[in-house]
Amino acid sequence: MTKERVVVRDVVKIFGSQDKEAAALLRDGVPRNEVIERTGGVIGLGGASFSVEEGEILVVMGLSGSGKSTMLRCINRLIEPTAGSITVDGTEVTTLTPKQLLQFRREKFGMVFQHFALFPNRTIAENVEYGLEVQKVDKAKRRQKALEAIELVGLKGWDAKYPRQLSGGMQQRAGLARALAVDADILLMDEAFSALDPLIRRDMQNELGTLQRNLKKTIVFVSHDLDEAIHLGGRIVLMKDGLIVQTGYPEEILLNPADDYVRRFVENIDVSSVITLGRLASRRSPALPRHKSVGDLREAVAAAEDPILVVTCEHNRPVGCVSREAVLAAKPDAEIASLIEAEIPTADGSKVLKSALRKLSAHPAGLAVTDADGRYVGTVTQDMALAALTGTSAELDAAAQSERENAWTGASPNSHWTTSATTPSPGSPSTSPH
């Protein structure tokens, strides 16, 4: 099972001289306004809890001032949390002595910054090897590692240049290389791509995805851009005013926004390019194996809600469709195969709805959704697609529900949600713990 690398529990950060008092007041349930009034502090984090699992990209999202960067910096204590607990691989970070903290940062974290934060007086190679340099790694060895990291991010040949000789996108590649060179397997990325222009940003997002597939780092990515969060494809922790509003995979957040704030956030996102067919597919009606006889299946068919049912072959691949009425009217000893009325088009469950819209519009009976091996998963009809697009998600909720029960195991990188749906994520959807 997936391992929790970083666990954040009830972390509070108050900026101001009476921070401890303010945190105590917050814990006792005193309303935020009153706490601010009484202590003169500013609440950076009002009690945030979440966890980051091994090998995932967790996107901490929110508008500016929502506390997302503060949250990130609390993880490696660039900002001291006022209260709460943060453990990384079982070690409590908040109580480390300065010396231990130093060692801990060297071993565990690589960090990438919004404005790159490259040292202007060092060449790219010297920048990239910085983390190893402070660890007193032997000169030849650290240079070799630096060059490897530089090659990994596609900056080969630029190692002797100075940061200001590089474009923004290239500088951030160098920033990423610096974080990768130290071999720490938790990457903290603070709005890493926000300062880049949109096309470069998209390139970098794709490249991070590729790197991630090979390197399997654990990444905490702070972003204010929901598109970016969705594109990165991991779980999202949505923050507002120092609190976590909702945690979940993009689809969960899009389809079941926890409150009006989240709803407004996701309003302009194109649902059809996020939600996958596998997610949308209805599993309400059973598939009818073609070699069985009508008698064996009559009860199941009578209970089915859909008017059109899918017939599958011995390998559970969809081969055609039959109307419910036809099955109910047939003789009990008739083979299902003999009743097939029409072919049914199939669609890959890992693809997004948008990619199947055209096909769906041509086939009123719907599409049979399959997994990566072509096995039948469920059906998607025009009605379901419309409901999803218009946000009337009652039907989808049911789909989501059934999906949690018969965890569909797609093999596509876009389908993390299937594995997660069974593991409850802490803090989700915690509107206000205090």
Partner: protein
Amino acid sequence: MPPPVTIALLVAIAWYLAGRRIGLMSLVGLLFLWNLRLWTPTMQTLVLVTLATLAALAIGIPIGIFSALNRRVWKTVSPFLDMMQTMPSFVYLIPAIPFFGIGPVSAVFATVVFSMPPVIRLTALGIMNVPGELIEASDAFGTSPAQKLFKVQLPLALPTIMAGINQTIMLGLSMVVIASMIGAGGLGREVWRAIQRLDAGSGFQAGIAIVIVAVILDRVTQAMAARARPAPID
């Protein structure tokens, strides 16, 4: 050491540190000083300035570093710097005498006190102005405070510190001239003597000699400061 050898040596240093143009300029300037028969006082002045500057830097840079790293130190030091810089320079000559008597030692002492503020101030400023993001980046990679100082803060503050060193040298030079009143030798004494005799000619000669020394010192240290700045865009 005979003047031609010294001249060759100084020109070589200037050439190496600041390039051909300033090297040649130094050559012409120094030959001119030799020709004015001011060679010995010039060397005396140069030695005084060098000693005073080294002492000022040895005390000033650490104070600057401490001020930058600790707010309380900075708050204590800052008003003293203001005072040291606004106090008329002559005043420093007075307390030097009872301690060190009349002579070059008092002169160096007064010069050190007078020329130290810029290097303290600019060292502190240079370190404090290192962008917070870079400090954060160094922290995030587990940099110890000493590593941070030597690998990040001082290298990035270097151009500013060099500007402070330049200022300190210039103030030192002006003070060495004034310190001739308490027995510092060198070009200052030539000026002082010319004033007492109302001898405008030799006064100007010595004055021009001081200007030449000042220009050489200034250009060489400025070139060093420019070199400390990060590489420009190709």
